[in-house]
């Protein structure tokens, strides 16, 4: 999606604009999906996660958390990305450049101190959200050692996506909204016996390769953990 398409899509859903003029691909897609479902979500891509976290936490405590609790998750993104932020609040994508509320002003200040936007290598994605169930529910994400290496639209068909793992490789197929592991270099190939996944929160794991294939979002049954 080029910038024009992105703005068009965002404009269709909200009267606001995005924090910066060019959101990185990751945030752009997240924003497009999340905007109408999530009461509050802040996604931040940065190469200075410790500094960002300290400042964001203080800001959110004073401006958001007084009303409720927030879920937090972070993981590393493989490759080059644009360091930036995307804020969704009250079901709207907020343009913190124009918004006059204290949260937007605080975020803008943090973004400036972190030199956003700029291109960075292997940054960390930090996500604060009130409801993980709505986070990226249309995506298959592939992690190697907790680093996001691939992200595929669930409705996109990929017959054979080979991912390098810790010991060898894992090959993933995505067809008609379902993902499964079709080949793996590991000895017992337990991951291949796990079948296909399509509901949010489901995952396939190849332990020897430390590869995890996840349907993004919280488990449909609202479970916090699965015993097996």
């Amino acid at each position: 999606m080029n910038r024009r398409d992105f703005i068009k899509q965002i404009s269709f859903m909200t009267s606001g604009l995005v924090l910066s003029n060019a959101l990185p691909g990751f945030l752009r897609k997240a924003a497009a999906v999340e905007i109408q479902r999530t009461p509050f979500q802040l996604s931040v891509v940065t190469d200075r996660p410790d500094e960002a976290l300290a400042r964001l936490e203080n800001l959110l405590k004073s401006r958001v958390l007084s009303k409720s609790s927030l879920k937090y998750a972070e993981y590393r993104l493989a490759g080059d990305h644009l360091s930036d932020m995307a804020l969704i609040s009250g079901g709207r994508l907020i343009n913190v450049h124009q918004a006059q509320d204290e949260l937007s002003r605080g975020l803008l200040e943090i973004a400036r101190s972190l030199d956003m936007p700029r291109r960075v290598g292997n940054p960390v994605l930090m996500q604060f959200s009130q409801d993980l169930s709505s986070m990226d529910p249309e995506k298959i994400q592939i992690f190697v050692r907790n680093q996001l290496v691939e992200e595929i639209d669930m409705h996109e068909n990929r017959e054979y996506l080979r991912v390098a793992g810790v010991q060898g490789f894992v090959a993933v197929a995505v067809r008609q909204g379902k993902a499964n592991i079709v080949e793996a270099s590991c000895r017992h190939q337990t991951c291949m016996k796990m079948g296909s996944i399509h509901h949010p929160g489901q995952n396939l794991v190849c332990i020897p390769n430390q590869v995890r294939v996840v349907v993004a979002g919280q488990h449909a049954k609202g479970v916090d953990g699965i015993v097996y």
């Binding site: 958390l65 937090y72 953990g225 097996y228």
Partner: protein, 341 residues
Amino acid sequence: MSIKTVGYFFLLGLLTGSGLLAQDKPTAPLFEVTATKYLLGTQVDIIAVGESVQSAKQACYFAFREMERIERMLSSHREDSEIGRINQQAGLQPVPVSPETFAILQRALNYSRRFQGLFDISIGTVLHLWGFNEDRDIRLPPPDSLRQRLALVNYRYIRLNPRDTTVTLLKPGMRIDLGGIAKGYAIDRAAATMRRHGIRRFLINAGGDIYAAGRKANGQRWRIGIKHPRELNSLLATFELSDYAVATSGDYERYAILNGRRYHHILDPRTGYPASGYRSVTVLAQTAEAADVWATYLFILGRAGYKKAHPLPVTALFVDQRGRVEYDPVWREKYRLQLVQ
């Protein structure tokens, strides 16, 4: 009813209504932080609830480090672990170990005695023969080899000397494997670490063995799903947990289909072959270690033996080979078990 009694109930109502008596009700802004790491040969997830993301992350970091320490100490795959050194000296000489390893071995042997050998850490030599837990193909062992190895499976051949905390495996070729207890122990240690770092509301999930502490950020108990033993991406049931542990032994996680038959990794120490009566047994216990051990034991023992042995310090849910689910009423009454249709 006296005025005093009415007053008491009025006060109680006020307190309950205002949430003052609700355990773990959020009184301060809270973050629910998730963290994942590959440890103990599996994926470990921690969800930590705290007033600060940084302190919750720090607690997770130290919990993971504690689990790494236990893995270095107890893994039978590592030659430099205490268990690795004990196995190398089987039939040769006593091996001095740390008090911590000694204590877990003592507990393992106590379980063996209590369960009349149906839980036995000396099963390691037979597991190794099959290829379970190894980086090679699982194969049906030749009957002669299996018979020879089975003769080495006996917890009574493990000598513990409390005077100098040494461990001796009496027969050459013996091999102990703490796979049925170490993961649970590691979770319990990680839970203690979380608490030591000020986090009292968390969930630790190490490859399907779970300890849930306190409540979620929204004040509700943790919601746990039981994996369906045949439809591996579906749930069999859900239930709620707080300050308790759960573990499952099943025939569907590590297995191979050989000559058209399913052979899985939970071996009956009496035969050296996989226990065959059940698809899965899920156990609730006070500690993850107890849940881990009891799940293995009850998987082999079966529901009839379980019912006969009551009362027990654990409660179990059985799925038999025909897919029938049996459980005690406490699962529904106390833990709000709901079977998934």
